[in-house]
């Protein structure tokens, strides 16, 4: 992999930016806020030998919130892909700053959604979001966004310089009863890795509240076929 100045439109910079994006979504995503990568402006890479050994990318990029506002944010990040002696995968480390990213109290939409679905007898379940034709109802979109945010925890953890993850589809979701003041959801999601072109199935249990944000409680990788040996990064 190259070091020094990188071509911002080429894959090494792009993959690193996608990792920063996943990090951003885990921290700031909600049913009404999900970011997508818009453009990488500049990128450099260097080998880091002091501290955690690995390759460190420095990025300047823009993201779009397609959860509701459509607003564009400018961000900068350092993404370190650790180099390990063993064959086990170590997740990347990300430091990220975005302008205008506010930790404001939740939007009215979020509060209304939260109240509606944590009311007694709320028992949402759905499958195939979006469906084969790309359709998804207005009502289901926040659940789709939440899935993307929760999936970002997994995508971030599983990322390396040789992966580039997106969430391809939500296979199903079921609301879970809970005594906590959280919206608790079980998801089966399909992730797509552009590099290997594989579709990887994960089950996850996540919670969300307007004040607390998204937190992922459990994750479980589902093998594609019986002799599947692991998600792409495990190879």
């Amino acid at each position: 992999m190259a070091t020094g100045d990188l071509v911002p439109t080429h894959f090494p910079a792009r993959r690193a930016a996608q990792v920063a994006l996943h990090h951003l979504n885990t921290h700031h995503g909600s049913p009404f806020r999900v970011f997508g990568l818009q453009r990488v402006h500049t990128a450099t890479a260097e080998d880091q030998v002091v501290g955690t050994a690995g390759r460190k990318y420095s990025l300047d990029f823009s993201v779009t919130d397609y959860g509701s506002s459509g607003s564009v944010l400018r961000c900068s990040a350092e993404v370190l892909f650790p180099r390990t002696e063993t064959h086990t995968h170590t997740p990347p480390e990300v430091h990220l700053r975005c302008e205008d990213l506010t930790h404001i109290s939740s939007s009215p939409e979020e509060l209304a959604f939260y109240q509606k679905h944590t009311a007694p007898h709320s028992a949402i379940s759905a499958h195939d979001l979006p469906d084969s034709q790309g359709n998804i109802s207005q009502d289901m979109q926040p659940f789709w966004h939440l899935a993307r945010v929760a999936a970002s925890f997994i995508m971030l953890r599983e990322s390396s310089e040789n992966t580039e993850y997106n969430m391809a589809q939500v296979a199903n979701l079921t609301q879970q009863e809970t005594s906590e003041k959280q919206l608790m959801l079980k998801y089966h999601v399909l992730l797509h890795d552009i590099v290997s072109q594989e579709i990887i199935h994960w089950k996850l249990l996540c919670s969300w509240s307007p004040e607390g944000g998204v937190s992922v409680r459990e994750t479980e990788w589902l093998p594609k076929c019986p002799h599947d040996t692991g998600p792409p990064t495990a190879h």
């Binding site: 894959f11 359709n135 207005q138 290997s196």
Partner: protein
């Protein structure tokens, strides 16, 4: 009685409405006769309730369509009286919209390509019908069957021609079956060509000098499988001896750096290259066609997603001989594309821009001497990915067409 008073206090008048937006259908489970009585006492008319299953007995569910304006009141009533329920239909309007969509699709089969619905995804039979209709309607269009898929489906290529012995321009879509916006765009391109011939001077000039070949469903077995079993299927459907895993990646099966890095030897992977170059009938058919035609001057293979325009090589980092020209033309094509809806694309050689990939289509066609060999990755950049909403088919096809026209026009203006 108190419940009813609470209810009335919360009641909001229902005005005449045109949609069912926000209406819900609740399934209520009464636990005893008393709860059934309470339900029977609900002022149906004033609330605008429509019982799909009337309250009869506590052993039977009560299904009721509640208009949006009455929802809060009804749910408060149920909560107050501790009557259990769950939401059967979150939003009635959504269900109606879905049904409307289905009805549009299953309306009497289109009788002509003017009747055909371009704003939805179609199954294989519908696409084959479209192809036959287009040929029947236009003397400049003919269908060539270049071979058969593994499961014996015809590999249909549309030929657009206004005269004999012309050099050719090739476009294929759907080589990876899950990339549905590509086959859908291919259909739109076919119609666009016949519509614009004789109207658009640039296209007319191109077709007066070149034939256009368009293979809309390059991997029909895979496409059928995405409809019947697995929306995310990419490869062909040929079984692999000694493995329970099916299929070969048709874009790693070409004889260009075959077997190198950027393709897999494992049949269970999405980039499995196959047992040998051109082992897949879907690939071999195109190889045979290209060789026997002998005079193709441009070759464009269309994929999704990522929004990229790519040129050779994928299998090696040595720049293509014509790199400078290919790069400049890609830049022009991309700015044409962007001019329509401001969709931004990245461009460059395959190996520098997206990843190393060996055994790819356009590496082979380029090394056969077809200079203007390009691959597109259409919309989007990962938000919807392979399942791009149908309402983006036409905008995607329209903007991509501008890029294709730039490539075809340049080919025409720079004969070699």
């Amino acid at each position: 009685m108190k419940g009813l008073l609470v209810l009335t206090a919360l009641f909001v008048a229902v005005f005449g409405k045109v949609t069912f937006e926000g209406d819900q259908v609740l399934r209520i489970t009464a636990k005893d006769a008393e709860q059934i009585s309470l339900l029977k006492e609900l002022p149906e008319q004033t609330l605008g309730l429509d019982f799909w299953m009337e309250p009869v007995h506590e052993s039977l569910p009560v299904d009721v369509h509640v208009p949006f304006h009455s929802l809060q009141a009804v749910r408060a009533f149920l909560a107050y009286n501790q009557i259990q329920y769950n939401i059967m239909i979150e939003n009635v309007q959504d269900l109606l919209d879905d049904e409307e969509r289905e009805m549009v699709k299953s309306r009497a089969f289109p009788r002509s390509t003017d009747d055909f619905v371009y704003t939805t995804y179609h199954d294989l039979n519908s696409i084959y019908s479209f192809i036959d209709m287009l040929v029947a309607e236009n003397s400049m269009v003919s269908k060539i069957v270049i071979g058969q898929s593994y499961e014996s489906r015809p590999l249909n290529v549309l030929k657009f021609s206004t005269g004999a012995n012309r050099p050719g321009l090739w476009i294929d879509t759907g080589i990876h079956s899950r990339e549905w916006v590509t086959q859908a765009s291919g259909i739109w391109f076919a119609k666009k060509i016949v519509t614009d011939y004789g109207r658009d001077p640039v296209l007319t000039d191109i077709l007066n000098k070149y034939d256009i070949f368009l293979e809309i469903v390059t991997n029909p077995d895979g496409y059928a499988y995405t409809h019947s079993r697995d929306r995310m299927w990419r490869k062909t459907r040929k079984p692999n001896p000694g493995s329970s895993c099916v299929g070969v990646d048709p874009n790693r099966n070409w004889d260009a750096g075959f077997g190198g890095g950027g393709s897999s030897s494992n049949p269970c992977t999405e980039t499995y290259r196959g047992p040998s170059a051109h082992s897949e009938p879907e690939v071999k058919a195109i190889v045979d066609f290209v060789k026997s035609h002998g005079n193709l001057k441009a070759f464009v293979s269309i994929h999704s997603y990522s929004q990229m325009l790519l040129y050779p090589y994928g299998y090696k980092s040595t720049p293509a001989k014509d790199q400078a020209e290919l790069h400049a033309l890609a830049s022009k094509a991309i700015s044409e594309l962007q001019s329509l809806y401001n969709t931004s694309y990245r461009y460059g050689s395959i190996i520098t821009t997206i990843y190393q990939a060996s055994g790819g289509t356009i590496d082979w066609t380029y090394d056969q001497g077809i200079k203007y060999s390009y691959t597109f990755e259409l919309r989007d950049t990962g938000r919807y990915g392979f399942i791009l909403p149908a309402n983006q088919i036409i905008p995607t096809a329209e903007e991509t067409w501008l890029a294709l026209m730039a490539i075809m026009e340049h080919t025409k203006n720079n004969p070699y």
